[in-house]
């Protein structure tokens, strides 16, 4: 994070925990729900050699038939990355990543040019079917357009024609490079510069695919857009890059889902997401992250180092992040908003659930630059097992951000006595005429609450799960409806057995 923190608050605010009166045996056991997305698709893939150097980057760029400016962008990023150090300020403990032991490009083999979904390898379609994301014309989800990304490449994007009628561009970023090069050249790296941080620099050097969205002036996107990221190979990293541009007075709701097979090795996922909202535009970006988290002993799982940032460039523009983070061995992500436009609005709603030996360090940065800008942060962290769950956030009000306001609320819930939760709210204000509010309401799952629900016939586990969803209600209310139901189910699944 490229900002120096002037005032630092370290507060273990608001621990919501089961008091130790609760029968310890009941809560000791941790999440045992088998990960149901852990299968591997047996498909012939084209992989390049392991390792990272200039040649590899040239090779990736060449495979994607990229213009020179993009190759230059990659090479420049790589040079910067080489001079940077892996950040350790989050205090996450994990096995050192060997960047030379990773495959940076892996794609399922298929025909060179695919003109329709019918030509996509049935095995791939089957994979997405199994994940609940049918892509074929007959079965595709009716209310949402999907861009399906498998390892390093985008497999298919549904509803493209329908969206095109409204002038909406929704395609893989590789295609956008070919067909909408002017937009890529204009916006890529303008929100998250290549040198922003170690993982963003790495991504900028080697990113393989991702989604691209362009909503023209005055258009309300007629349906939700969604990307589904699937990691299949055990030895390749996934480095996707997403760019969403909302022109003046346009709006879009974008959903993102992720799963990966169970491997006993760790897979690196370092994504970059950039959002740009112009005057009166609004972007809602929702994530349900369910990467493989590793087993009970902490073996395997995804290392999830992600840089997500939105730029409210226009007046009265709005960017809203909502995330439900339940997977990954390591989560390191801080979806942020740069509030430049006058009266622009940034929001961050987050539920992060960790279990077993998972570690999550997540939060947001709300950078108020323009006057009368407003931001809201609602974060709910739930840690069970031996996991570590931290909220880390920065609210910065710049000298010109007169009349700006922030409201933050961070709640943590501990389940069992081995898990830990931390809250690190950093606040930096250079504008006396502004308001920053940090709320820490205290609530806890007490033995009495559990007993009350149980005495009404509700099973212990279901009682916990009801209270956890109740705890997350403020955030779930922000999610698109189908997502909210899925998130609720997911949390219940993750907690199943955690208190058996």
């Amino acid at each position: 994070m490229g900002v120096s923190f002037v005032r630092v608050y370290k507060a273990n605010c608001n621990w919501l925990f089961l008091d130790n009166m609760v029968n310890e045996n009941l809560v000791k056991e941790v999440v045992k729900e088998p990960y149901k997305y852990g299968f591997v698709t047996d498909i012939e893939t084209e992989k390049i050699a392991k390792g990272l150097n200039e040649e590899i980057i040239r090779l990736i760029s060449q495979k994607k038939e990229e213009p020179k400016y993009l190759l230059d962008f990659r090479l420049k990023a790589f040079k910067k990355w080489q001079k940077m150090n892996e950040p350790d300020w989050a205090g996450l403990g994990y096995k050192q990543i060997d960047y030379q032991d990773i495959i940076y490009y892996s794609a399922p083999k298929q025909k060179e040019k695919i003109s329709s979904l019918d030509e996509v390898d049935p095995k791939l379609l089957e994979t997405f079917d199994k994940l609940g994301i049918p892509l074929t014309e007959q079965k595709k989800l009716t209310n949402v357009a999907v861009d399906a990304v498998f390892d390093s490449v985008s497999i298919a994007t549904t509803f493209r024609e329908e969206l095109a009628e409204h002038g909406v561009i929704f395609c893989s970023i590789s295609e956008a490079v070919k067909n909408h090069s002017e937009l890529i050249e204009k916006y890529l790296g303008t929100v998250v510069p290549a040198s922003d941080n170690y993982f963003a620099a790495l991504n900028s050097a080697v990113f393989s695919d991702g989604s691209f969205v362009y909503i023209p002036k005055g258009v309300t996107c007629p349906m939700d857009l969604s990307s589904y990221f699937r990691i299949n190979s055990g030895d390749s990293g996934q480095f996707e890059r997403t760019l969403i541009i909302a022109e003046e007075s346009s709006s879009v709701s974008y959903l993102e889902g992720c799963t990966a097979p169970m491997f006993d090795t760790n897979t690196l996922h370092a994504a970059v997401v950039e959002l740009i909202a112009l005057d009166d535009a609004s972007i809602k970006y929702s994530t349900v992250q369910n990467w493989y988290a590793g087993d009970e002993e902490g073996v395997g799982g995804i290392f999830n180092f992600v840089t997500k940032r939105g730029k409210c460039l226009g007046k009265r523009s709005k960017i809203s992040w909502s995330q439900v983070e339940t997977g990954s061995a390591i989560t390191w992500k801080y979806p942020s908003c740069l509030l430049l436009g006058e009266e622009s609005v940034g929001e961050f709603y987050s539920v992060a659930l960790t279990n077993n030996l998972q570690q999550a360090d997540t939060g947001t940065k709300m950078i108020h630059i323009g006057p009368k800008t407003k931001s809201t942060i609602v974060s709910k962290g739930i840690s069970a097992g031996n996991s570590k769950n931290s909220y880390r956030g920065l609210v910065k009000i710049g000298t010109k951000a007169k009349g700006s306001r922030n409201y933050s609320q961070c709640d943590s819930m501990l389940i069992g006595d081995q898990a830990s939760a931390n809250t690190f709210p950093y606040i930096k204000s250079q504008q006396p005429n502004s308001e920053i509010e940090h709320e820490a309401s205290t609530c806890r799952i007490s033995e009495d609450q559990l007993f009350y629900l149980q005495s009404r016939g509700i099973e212990f586990e279901e009682a916990i799960s009801m209270m956890v969803s109740g705890f997350c209600r403020d955030v779930f209310n922000q999610l698109p409806m189908e997502f909210a139901a899925e998130a609720d189910k997911l949390l219940a699944l993750k907690l199943e057995g955690s208190v058996g």
Binding site: L453, S455, E459, M466, G470
Partner: protein, 261 residues
């Protein structure tokens, strides 16, 4: 004790029950038998063990049974989980109903009702069917539909909380209901609503234990038996006139009682 219902088997038998919390003895040999159709009142000073008795019957994990048995419908339930007891038909009306933020009252009531229905091999109700059922029961306690969309007991007034308890009792149709100071904190109108609700829900098959300090609830619901508790024991049992006498003379009067055997 003579009762006209004696031909049938008792619903609940508490046999010489000793219980403690944090090694502190609270119950010191309580025995109590409830037959179908009976209403029992338990009275006594604060701290005499009335509430503890009710919590132990419902299975509160903070208390350990050190001796004695709780027999429900002929089965020893000493080691059953609270939810198993509830599903099989034991209901505890809380003195201080617990607030559960974020959990909608409607969903709570539905999950709870279905857990009981499942036990009874009745079909579980979806949201729509449940709404129909709950509408009917809301009438009993004169509660507004708006209560259902709020979080469980959160921000409810004292009276609303108690009515919510009776609503739960109406939905769960328990075999035995233990109502712990359901009358406390109620104004006269609310007391009448609650009492009427209890009377409508109970029948010849159900048993009721009213834990109370006051005669005014017993004016509305006349008990078959009144038990006076002191220091973890039932020290006297009588008919409804015992409560009237207690009302007149105060608990000091009971200080001289010796435990009846």
């Amino acid at each position: 004790m003579q009762s006209k219902m004696k031909e049938s088997d008792p619903i609940l038998e508490v046999e010489n029950l000793f219980a403690s919390t944090d090694n502190l003895p609270i119950l010191k040999g309580v025995s109590l038998t409830v037959y179908p159709g009976e209403i029992h009142a338990i009275m006594g000073r604060n701290g005499c063990g009335k509430s503890t008795l009710s919590k132990i019957i419902a299975g509160h994990p903070s208390y350990n049974i050190t001796n004695g048995n709780i027999i429900f419908s002929g089965e020893n339930i000493n080691s059953l989980e609270p939810e198993e007891r509830a599903q099989s038909g034991i209901f505890l009306g809380f003195q201080y109903p617990i607030e559960i933020p974020g959990v909608s009252n409607l969903e709570f009531l539905r999950v709870s009702t279905n857990s009981r229905r499942k036990f009874l091999n009745k079909e579980e109700l979806d949201t729509f069917d449940f709404e129909e059922l709950v509408k009917e029961k809301l009438e009993l306690v004169k509660m507004d539909h708006a209560f259902l969309s709020r979080s469980v007991n959160q921000g409810f007034s004292g009276g609303e909380k108690k009515r919510n308890e009776i609503l739960q009792m109406a939905l769960l149709e328990p075999k035995i209901a233990i109502l712990d100071e359901t009358d406390s904190g109620l104004d006269i109108d609310a007391l009448r609503i609650v009492a009427t609700g209890i009377k409508k829900i109970s029948n010849a098959q159900t048993g009721i234990i009213l834990i109370t300090h006051y005669q005014r609830l017993l004016d509305e619901i006349e008990p078959n038996y009144v038990h006076v508790m002191s220091d973890g024991q039932i020290i006297r049992t009588g008919g409804s006139d015992l409560a009237l006498e207690l009302e007149k003379k105060g608990y000091e009067w009971t200080d001289n009682f010796v435990k009846e055997t």
